[in-house]
């Protein structure tokens, strides 16, 4: 059988065997002990030709209810925002997507400059001095931030708000087992972190306090008050996870003295794609610059004094420091960071605030309609693009009903918070129309009875 990715002809092969001085390629594998050599072929599906495979996989894709055809009110960390056409055109340029990490700066200035620009945009959004080239996703970025805080303060106890994304908290727990950290969760009250409990738990043994802003319920955490509390402890670090779109409207965590700000740029130009790949960001104060995990790009000049960019401060990293590295991370999400950079450039300085506000206005509209429909909206603080409602029926029952109407309902909060039975977390983004919101509320009310 012929394979289109394998170009060697029989003549080529023979010439190469002659050069090596062997008769068959089997000789090149003769150093594998015979009892380890496979006697039979791998048991895999037969090779598929391009046309058939495309047909089959299109059919497989067709069996999934997708956000283009359904009207979605599901968020909980992954959002359905408009992606400008320019994004996919740029990231489809193969000089970007078929390149490796830019180790050779002379032929990688494009990627390096794009990352430098990404770092700048993240610094601007978060109000932080330094941002890295990206992380796997928001959840692992947060876990890395926690481990960094423990290493930096030489303390082992972390306070994490329960209003932080449940899966991020789960990842923090897993990462914390390496350095044996103790994670203490702080409850929430009316949808925001319980500051009284936070104050009670806060003492000189705390490496860091972790909050999400806006939090998992869409509520705006009072960072100013939290900062006041944390500042009573000299060493304790302040870690904030933020939806970067919200920072187009909200005062950035850097202005409240955050030491590390992380999050996910999926909201900028990256499709949901069933949860990944997305793109984590990681921003810190200047003081922590040499402790940051992952790649950093810096500006410099070449021998002729021409401005250019290089991977820098590599002495932090695994390929140099090995077991003494600040993290084991080796890749970053360069291509997705590029997608987000293009989307952020497209939205622009003033567009970003408009887009953030529109998300809030549309959510507000949904909230008004829900109230009118007598569906209780719990939590009464300020919110970004998510709100929590209380249903009479189970969330899964309601969602099943909505799906039949080609609507993807909200997140079932009971999955992560047993005490929030019948509570649904709803996300409304700028691309939901007035009509979609009205239909959603009507259908929701009908099913809920």
């Amino acid at each position: 059988m012929e394979f289109r990715y394998l170009p060697m002809t029989e003549i080529d092969k023979q010439e190469m065997l002659d050069t090596i001085g062997i008769r068959s390629t089997d000789e090149l594998f003769s150093d594998i002990p015979s009892q380890l050599r496979m006697q039979q072929e791998l048991n895999l599906k037969k090779p598929a030709n391009e046309a058939d495979l495309m047909k089959e996989l299109s059919k497989m894709a067709g069996r999934n209810a997708n956000l283009k055809e359904y009207s979605s009110f599901l968020g909980a960390g992954v959002y359905d925002h408009f992606i400008p056409s320019v994004v996919d055109h740029i990231i489809s340029r193969s000089e970007f997507y078929t390149a490796y990490t830019p180790y050779q700066p002379e032929i990688s200035q494009g990627e390096l400059q794009a990352i430098f620009e990404f770092q700048t945009m993240i610094s601007e959004l978060t109000g932080m001095a330094v941002a890295n080239s990206s992380m796997y996703d928001g959840g692992t970025a947060l876990a890395e931030a926690v481990n960094l805080s423990a290493a930096q303060t030489k303390k082992k106890k972390i306070l994490v708000s329960k209003a932080v994304h449940p899966e991020s908290r789960a990842v923090i727990e897993s990462y914390a087992k390496g350095p044996n950290l103790e994670i203490v969760e702080i409850d929430f009250e009316n949808g925001v972190t319980d500051l009284a409990q936070l104050e009670k738990e806060l003492d000189e043994n705390i490496a860091s306090v972790v909050l999400q802003y806006p939090n998992f319920f869409g509520q705006i955490e009072p960072l100013e008050k939290v900062k006041e509390l944390i500042s009573t402890q000299k060493k304790t670090m302040f870690i904030v996870s933020s939806n970067p779109l919200a920072l187009g409207y909200l005062t950035p965590p850097g202005d409240f003295g955050a030491d590390i700000v992380v999050g996910d740029t999926q909201v900028f130009g990256i499709p949901a794609q069933y949860g990944g790949p997305h793109c984590g960001y990681f921003a810190t104060t200047e003081k922590l610059m040499r402790k940051v995990p992952g790649r950093l790009v810096g500006q410099t000049v070449d021998e002729d004094g021409v401005r250019g960019f290089v991977l820098t401060l590599q002495a932090r990293e695994q390929h140099i420091r090995r077991d003494k590295a600040t993290s084991n991370i080796c890749s970053n999400q360069a291509l997705n960071a590029l997608a987000s950079s293009v989307a952020m450039s497209s939205i622009g300085k003033h567009g970003l605030r408009k887009m953030a506000v529109m998300n809030m206005q549309k959510t507000r509209y949904a909230k008004e309609l829900l109230k009118k429909a007598k569906i209780p909206v719990v939590n009464n603080g300020a919110y970004f693009n998510e709100i929590v409602i209380k249903l009479d029926k189970s969330v899964s029952e309601v969602n099943t009903g909505l799906l039949e109407k080609k609507i993807i309902g909200g997140y079932d909060l009971e999955q992560a918070y047993p005490e929030l039975q019948g509570h649904m977390l709803i996300a409304v983004t700028e691309i939901r129309t007035k009509e979609e919101i009205e239909t959603f509320v009507k259908e929701l009310g009908d099913i809920n009875g």
């Binding site: 150093d31 990688s108 770092q119 070449d302 080796c330």
Partner: protein
């Protein structure tokens, strides 16, 4: 364009330009400020660029022209498996039913996606010979850490609390010792012998009651098959440790042998290497882990299973190490790998390894005439040369790499592995034609000539690139990590 800097997107910005087409505000124009405490309303807008759509396209197209990918030319970067990235993979990944689905959708509404993942899991189990596979880890290093955490949980479940050390060969990837540290272990080194393989005597010396695991790449980073793998497995297992397989070099052995059959207890794979990811300029990747039956209870949550005809995520896993990543791994990359495996099948994947190894050996035999080959035996999918003959002439491996840029090639990996002086690590991959290999060989031989007759030409390279060698010292000493405005 040569030797000029290229404006930053911020430097193209002009007040009042925009490229974004926001949907119409069809709901009431609520005054959001009224609902928000003043202190939480941002006072000054973040300095994002203000540019038109064409500005964006010209800017990033210009940047792409200043970048080099596999589609641009030969990329024999050792240990990175820079093979061709098939275009059908990209098309499949962009189908609405795959790219626009939410991880919290009801499982009934995403059975197609779950079937793909399940089928990929099954294929990877077969290719590696492992009992179970998790697609959760986001990248190779993430997979290493995940598997080490499982090994740790396994030892702890056995009350074996003293197993604090992870052994890595001196030729190992940097991620191995780094992952060991992050997982809470101490990394210790085992030496290589004169054949470039793990020194069994030294291994016997370093294993003991404190051994949690040995991390091994096979073929190793010199591109050599660890022929004594069964003895090594025996030594480590007898000491009560586990054997970990770094799958970075799986491209060499598909269909010929399997880590599961060699006695490995855990493996990670780099789907962006062997299974045509692509690399994306540094990511995203995907780093699934495979484990033996013994380690299966410790797999990260959730695991994907099939019950009758339904695919479900199972969270009821009391011994699991927990979550390693939100949602279900890098689905988009897993999908590309799946498309590739389906394109190749068993026959194709075996041929992949056959040609990857043939190509490497062919190049090695041609190049050993002018470059030192520290280990003379047949290699697998990559080989390591030493530039020490050239070093005597004042030409460093770095210079050779930079000179290759002038000829339009991406250089091999340099100064790795650490146990070869002036190392040049070459991995051609199976997707390159003989003409491409010959072109590169001829160039390398020319550079060897240049090093003898005109060393300055090599020492001062590159001459033809858009920028020359960068001042990396100043970059690290006085870091400028963002644009500060005009």
């Amino acid at each position: 364009m040569a030797n000029q800097d290229f404006p930053l997107i911020f430097e193209r910005s002009r007040e009042g330009r925009t490229s974004y087409s926001l949907p119409e505000l069809d709901v009431p124009d609520y005054d959001i400020d009224q609902e928000m405490e003043e202190v939480y309303i941002r006072k000054s807008a973040p300095e994002l660029p203000e540019v038109s759509e064409l500005d964006i396209i010209r800017h990033y197209t210009g940047l792409s022209n200043r970048n080099y990918g596999v589609d641009s030319g030969f990329y024999p970067l050792g240990s990175c498996t820079m093979k061709y990235n098939p275009k059908i993979n990209e098309d499949v990944a962009r189908l609405d039913g795959f790219s626009h689905i939410h991880p919290y959708q009801n499982a009934n509404s995403v059975q197609g996606a779950m079937e793909m993942l399940y089928d990929l899991q099954t294929s990877l189990k077969e290719i590696t010979g492992m009992h179970e596979v998790s697609l959760q880890p986001a990248a190779g290093a993430h997979g290493e850490w995940t598997a080490l955490m499982m090994i740790r949980a396994y030892h702890e479940a056995n009350g074996d609390m003293e197993r604090t050390k992870v052994i890595v060969p001196d030729s190992a990837h940097g991620t191995n010792p780094a992952s060991a540290t992050v997982a809470g272990f101490e990394a210790i080194t085992v030496k290589s012998n004169e054949k470039g393989l793990v020194d069994l005597e030294d291994l016997r010396r370093v294993v003991g009651k404190d051994t949690a695991a040995l991390m091994l790449t096979n073929p190793n980073t010199l591109g050599l098959f660890e022929t004594e793998i069964m003895e090594m497995a025996e030594i480590v297992h007898t000491a009560g440790g586990k054997l970990y397989y770094d799958g970075a070099n799986l491209n060499a052995i598909m269909g010929y042998t399997r880590p599961g059959d060699m006695g490995f207890d855990a493996v990670h794979l780099n789907l962006h290497k062997t299974f045509t990811g692509p690399h994306g300029g540094g990511g995203p990747g995907s780093g699934p882990v495979g484990v033996s039956k013994e380690l299966e209870p410790y797999l990260p949550k959730p695991i994907l299973t099939k019950k009758e005809d339904q695919y479900i995520f199972n969270y009821d896993r009391p011994h699991s190490i927990g979550r390693v990543k939100p949602y279900y791994g890098n689905f988009g990359i897993n999908l590309r790998a799946y498309t590739y495996i389906r394109t190749m099948g068993a026959e194709g994947l075996k041929k992949v390894s056959e040609y990857a190894v043939l190509n490497a050996n062919y190049m090695m035999r041609k190049l050993e005439k002018r470059y030192t080959l520290p280990y003379p035996q047949h290699c697998k999918h990559e080989f390591v040369l030493s530039g020490k003959q050239q070093k005597k002439l004042g030409v460093r491996t770095l210079d050779i790499a930079k000179r290759l840029l002038d000829y339009g090639y991406h250089p091999p990996t340099i100064y790795f592995p650490l146990n070869v002086e002036e190392a040049l690590m070459v991995e051609p991959t199976e997707t390159e034609s003989k003409e491409t290999l010959d072109g590169f060989i001829d160039t390398m031989l020319s550079i060897a000539d240049e090093s003898e007759h005109n060393p300055e030409l090599v020492q001062e390279a590159p001459h033809n690139t858009i920028v020359k060698r960068m001042d990396e010292t100043t970059a690290a000493r006085k870091p400028i990590l963002r644009y500060y405005g005009k």
